[in-house]
Symmetry: D2
Subunit: 142 residues, 4 copies
């Protein structure tokens, strides 16, 4: 597990919620995605939309995503989300997200992402690349 933890706070919006009055499941995966980008910005000092150019990658595409819904989040709730890289491999990494509401863990998420360049043969495919040492180092030093 790396040392860098990214935290952000945001409110649950009307448009995030479904007829049961709670956040519709797909929205949590938007929240995770946003936190992953912002975590990289906070750790590396590179804005999300410049990550691609700064490291000559196409992005940090997902190969897996999961969530455990422990307690409901509803319109007006204030969410505190903590994100950290819990494992870094040669060209992929796992991001853990934990969303708290009123101090109680409401949702746990896990994203498996790849450090990827454009596939030479197909612009819509991607190819895993080694994560640079400097990037790994940034997540290990706090």
């Amino acid at each position: 597990m790396t040392d860098f933890v990214f935290r952000r706070q945001f409110a649950i919006e009307w448009g995030h919620c479904d007829p049961a009055g709670i956040v519709f499941n797909s929205r949590f995966f938007e929240f995770f995605d946003r936190s992953a980008w912002l975590m990289f910005e906070a750790a590396l000092g590179v804005a999300p939309h410049e990550l691609s150019k700064a490291y000559d990658i196409v992005g940090i595409p997902l190969v897996g995503a999961q969530a455990k819904f422990i307690a409901p989040a509803k319109f007006g709730d204030v969410a505190d989300m903590e994100s950290r890289i819990i494992e870094i491999r040669r060209s992929s990494f796992d991001v853990e997200h934990r969303m708290f509401i009123g101090g109680t863990l409401a949702v746990e998420g896990l994203e498996k992402r790849v450090w990827a360049s454009r596939h030479p043969d197909d612009p819509l495919r991607m190819k895993a690349r080694a994560i640079p040492d400097e990037v790994v180092a940034k997540f290990k030093e706090v």
Copy 2:
């Protein structure tokens, strides 16, 4: 694993896709959710919006969701999705979704859902209830 398999086909829309030209991850969880409701309709003969009244439940809320992204899905692709209940427990069940594009498995999903009634003490919380035998039977007979 139950015997009932629900299949549907749909096209990937412009609005489903992100700047990489492929389906944004949260959209797959919308696809899974939709297939789960339609699978119930196909198996039980009850329309999604009448499931609640027909069985005196508040719904079939998710307690977990996950996806494995194997191959990209892009604008214009035709997706074939297969959904089935792979495990039924007393008051919860697991739905497996497999999305194929051009015959190739592109995405695997798993939803953990609960057969739930409104919690007596809190309208925003839910309470697991035993899944009726007749419902279980419908997914086992084909």
Copy 3:
């Protein structure tokens, strides 16, 4: 007003709806967008994702969109949507969408779109181009 009318039918999904139990407003603009692409496919015989290549355009970007919400649409409702081009100008056109539920007009929409090529100086900007006569003709003959 052109003669070609594109019709489709679809059901309102759980994930389309908000805590009031009715379709969240932004979803209607997804429905309009989808119908616009499918209307082009039906009229021209070109799949949405091939429109760009077939006519050497970058797309049919929106410069305006509006909706009038007349009656609510809720989970399980079956929507009948009619879309037609109500005005074609040199390089832009207006698409009218009308969504009926149970035969009653529920939502009226209007999209203003441009027939656009990539701007030579900026890949994120677009440049209006004359709509080919053959395209205009397809919407006028029925």
Copy 4:
């Protein structure tokens, strides 16, 4: 036009954008909706999810929404949005939204909303009610 102007700043996210690399149109209507709720919170001192209880209404449903897309907004852009009520009638009002990117007007929006209570005969329908004088006054005093 009322005097109260609500301003917020937010960044365009990856998940907001489509394959053209710019914000997908429906997302702007989510942005408008969010600003409308926050404008009410700022003007009245009542949190969005408490507006309903505080004024014995069901909400502030939309009867119309429109947008004019003047310049594209792309991933990483910082949006400055200004929202104000430009007209208040007995039981309805118009909210104007203007979104600037780098000081340039990129999108103009207009929402027509109703001050609504639950319809006595149908829980999914709403009934317009007179906007309280105290609410009107809050938007006129700055």
